[in-house]
């Protein structure tokens, strides 16, 4: 074996610190880098949501630290409306791009897709390294938006790059929401605070992020198509691999559209073009073309930006959730000690969700002024996407039925995923109807819906994945005790935060308001707003336990064996952590499907994919036990 071993390595195990941990070509190191990036980004995003809740529920209270950090954004320690709106924007952007798109795919996908299909590494290790570092640069650029807008001196310095780069609005970044609707996002400083350099950096950061994601997606697809080991037929792949693959296809086809739109938006901002800016605008007391600060624009289409954005934006929500679905299926089967119920149906459902995901972007635009006839088609297609989602839920319940569940922390989070996915996804039946969207659009009902389904459910998928794969990645187990406390409080907390938000939305509360004090019709939901804020503070606080558990367990956790969960797939067939080439020179050969638990007659209650000795009853996988 050692002979082939020599020839196998395209890149030998590095020895220097920089090549080993920084500019590493090893998909496992890159995966952990992505996870650490997401952990940093989610901390920033969470602090931002905390500040938003503090402002909404205790608006007059002074927070001296805010004044120290942002003297103009929070004079006297009380945040300005523009400061709040920039928090909204940056929270959304950082969470969607740098958390929900990095950890599930770039993080866990990178680490486990090659191992689960029995490959030594990704197809293109150099591209893989580049995709992480490009993404990292994107993150640095979005953080720069904070200082450029928040700090007068730096903001003024950035004006050297061009007038559109002038910052210093006293905010923590641009104002536009994560969707950056034109023309607000396209007009530049004239449209108010938060429309200067921070917005340029926002667009640039997203464009950079697109490039990084594309490199990653290309690698995932090629790896999966080309590098499966002997016996690893498509239908023997773990469902995680199907999810990562479909996610990569979605990313490959949707990010270029956002990239194109981002380039057009940037040209409108810095080159004076009119892709999204219509003619005859009168902004802040100036007519377009009447003043050097406001060049002439004609004929652009604001709705065009929305089409380009949502053609990407809708697949993006599946990019965030599909890996969580894959991880949940994987972890449910493992700890239920039972094969996945309806594996084929699960694969078809993933595909159907991916395909329909490209056909429903218009449901974000029912009331945008686009053709009301197209709304009819988008509405019906949107409700159809609920069918494969429901199929997945039924199959998860089917997997649990007649099983023997082991309640580890990973399993608790996977069960939490199922519960939250149902709770968040099912209100799509309301929002997907163009009629009902008439009143629900841009209300807290929408905020509640997407936070539960693409935010919290995805994060639960990632928590489950972390507790589950941590022993493989670091050779040590995370503390189950701390993990359980983390689970219980987070699970109850997120329901307490997001269920009341639905009701606020039904009452008519619009999103993205820094204060609701002006509106009499919202007075009766004040107690709910307070409840949400208290729950948010507690839930965010308990995440510190997770950070502690994660970093403490890397060094002090209980040692894990190669297969602590008695699982079946290939990642449990190698050491913890796996060697540089994953399988120490001998690629495994696969003989069984991915989830052979409780096989009648087998000596143990699980049959590993590589187990040549085991006899598994023949059948098409749809008959009962014997």
């Amino acid at each position: 074996m050692s002979e082939t071993h020599e020839g196998v390595h395209r890149h030998p195990a590095p020895t220097g610190f920089i090549r080993k941990y920084i500019f590493s070509l090893d998909h496992k190191v890159i995966g952990i880098q992505y996870i650490l990036l997401a952990l940093a980004a989610v901390a920033v995003g969470m602090v931002m949501s905390l500040l938003m809740r503090l402002n909404l529920s205790w608006p007059g209270t002074s927070w001296p630290i805010l004044e120290t950090l942002f003297p103009t954004g929070a004079p006297g320690g009380i945040m300005t409306p523009e400061f709040y709106l920039s928090l909204v924007t940056m929270h959304g952007t950082i969470m969607v791009f740098f958390v929900l798109t990095t950890a599930p795919q770039g993080g866990f996908g990178n680490y486990f897709l090659p191992i689960q299909i029995g490959a030594e590494d990704m197809a293109f290790p150099v591209l893989n390294m580049m995709s992480f570092w490009v993404t990292f640069v994107g993150f640095i650029v979005i953080l720069m938006a904070i200082v450029v807008e928040g700090n007068q001196a730096i903001g003024a310095w950035f004006a050297n790059l061009g007038p559109s780069f002038a910052g210093g609005s006293g905010t923590v970044g641009p104002i536009g929401g994560w969707t950056g609707y034109a023309p607000l996002s396209a007009l530049g400083k004239i449209a108010g605070p938060g429309q200067g350099g921070g917005m340029n950096l926002w667009v640039i950061s997203i464009a950079i992020f697109c490039v990084g994601s594309l490199l990653g997606a290309l690698n995932f697809i090629t790896t999966l198509l080309n590098m499966r080991t002997k016996g690893m037929s498509l239908m023997r792949m773990p469902l995680t691999c199907w999810a990562w693959f479909t996610t990569a296809v979605l990313a490959l086809l949707s990010f270029p559209v956002l990239l194109g739109g981002g380039i057009l938006l940037l040209l409108d901002r810095i080159a004076g073009t009119s892709f999204f800016i219509p003619g005859g605008l009168y902004v802040s007391g100036l007519l377009s073309g009447s003043n050097p600060n406001f060049p002439l624009h004609t004929g652009g289409s604001p709705i065009l930006w929305q089409h380009l954005f949502w053609f990407f934006g809708h697949p993006e929500v599946y990019i965030a959730i599909l890996p969580g679905m894959g991880a949940t299926s994987h972890i449910l089967a493992t700890f239920a000690r039972k094969p996945v119920f309806g594996y084929r149906a699960m694969v078809f459902a993933i595909f159907a969700i991916g395909l329909l995901g490209f056909l429903v972007w218009g449901h974000h635009m029912f009331i945008s002024g686009m053709s009301p006839y197209s709304a009819v088609a988008f509405s019906i297609l949107t409700l159809s996407i609920g069918v494969p989602s429901a199929v997945k839920t039924f199959n998860w319940l089917g997997t649990l039925w007649n099983s023997r569940i082991r309640f580890t922390t990973a399993m608790l989070f996977a069960l939490g995923f199922v519960s939250l996915f149902v709770a968040g996804g099912i209100t799509g039946l309301v929002l997907g109807q163009s009629s009902l969207d008439l009143a629900m659009h841009d209300s807290y009902f929408v905020t509640a819906h997407f936070h539960l389904v693409m935010g919290v459910a995805s994060i639960f998928g990632m928590f489950a994945a972390t507790y589950f794969w941590f022993p493989k990645m670091f050779g040590r187990l995370m503390s189950e005790g701390i993990g359980r406390i983390h689970f219980w409080i987070t699970f109850i907390g997120v329901y307490a935060i997001f269920v009341p938000m639905h009701v606020m939305g039904i009452r008519g509360m619009p999103r993205r308001f820094s204060s609701f004090a002006e509106y009499d019709f919202l007075r009766n939901v004040d107690p709910l707003v307070l409840l949400v804020s208290v729950a948010a503070v507690l839930t965010i606080a308990v995440q510190l336990l997770f950070y502690f558990n994660f970093f403490w367990s890397i060094f002090k956790g209980e040692k894990a064996g190669d297969n602590p969960w008695e699982a079946t797939t290939l990642e449990w067939n190698t050491t913890s952590p796996p060697p540089h080439d994953n399988f120490a020179g001998v690629l495994p050969t696969v003989y069984h499907g991915p989830y052979e638990f409780a096989v009648p007659g087998a000596p143990k209650d699980f049959v590993m994919q590589t187990d040549i000795e085991a006899e598994v009853p023949s059948g098409n996988g749809h008959n009962g036990h014997h």
């Binding site: 709106l85 449209a191 084929r344 008439l438 619009p510």
Partner: protein, 282 residues
Amino acid sequence: MGRVLAVIIWIITLLSVALFFSDKWWFVEPISAHAPAYDRQFLITILVVGIAFTAAQVGLGWAVWKFRDTGKPGDRSVYSHGSNRLEVLWTVITAVIFISLAIMGQSVWASLRLHDAPAGSYTVEAVAQQFQWNFHYAGADNKFGRTHPSLIDDGTLNFIGLDPEDPSGRDDSVTAALAIPVNRPVELRLRSKDVIHNFWVPQLRFKQDLVPGMEIKVHFQANKVGKYELACAELCGQLHFKMKSYMLVLPEDELAALQVLPQEQFQARIAELLNKYPLPTN
């Protein structure tokens, strides 16, 4: 552990459903002609949602309550890879329910958006700008004066760029509040001077973006006299949350008397009417 989880899931389900079906926090009282149909469709949908949500959570709770690993050797899960019959069954059932909802959900949309405003509708132009609403009334002659962006001057309060040369514009009025007749179809022609805004009166049960460079027409009918809050529901910049005004639904004669007043008296009268009518209590 499984039993604790089951109980917690059930309690969360119960509290969530209770929150939705408590009277305390629900829609504001509707006033538009299409609102009863809207509210009915919403209720049907939320019932389907509630039943499906409850069923799934109760089922999940039951599964974790009942099925757990006892650790006894030989006590294993039931070995099964699924059932094609069940897959077909639940795919068909959910498809039928979801598509039916989608089709039922078209009627309110069609009545509001796929048909033009009925003949004889009362027409008002709305021109939004950052943090302010401008409503343009045709005046005694029932003709809107010509407007042009180059004539806009916020400094002289010509917010919408009315052309002083156009005789049909001389009797027009522009105010921040929207006044419309009760029990009569109304058509709004929505425009924006700068960025995207959104017209939102919760009692009317519809929203519509005001998009710069476009004129978007919407129609509705308000059936109850009174004063209602009007908000901007599309992020438009710094003071988005303060872009507030009121909609007055007036008896036909009160509106007719208002309509013929010249600009200054028109505004004074609007101010009186805003004082006269209280906000709805629910």
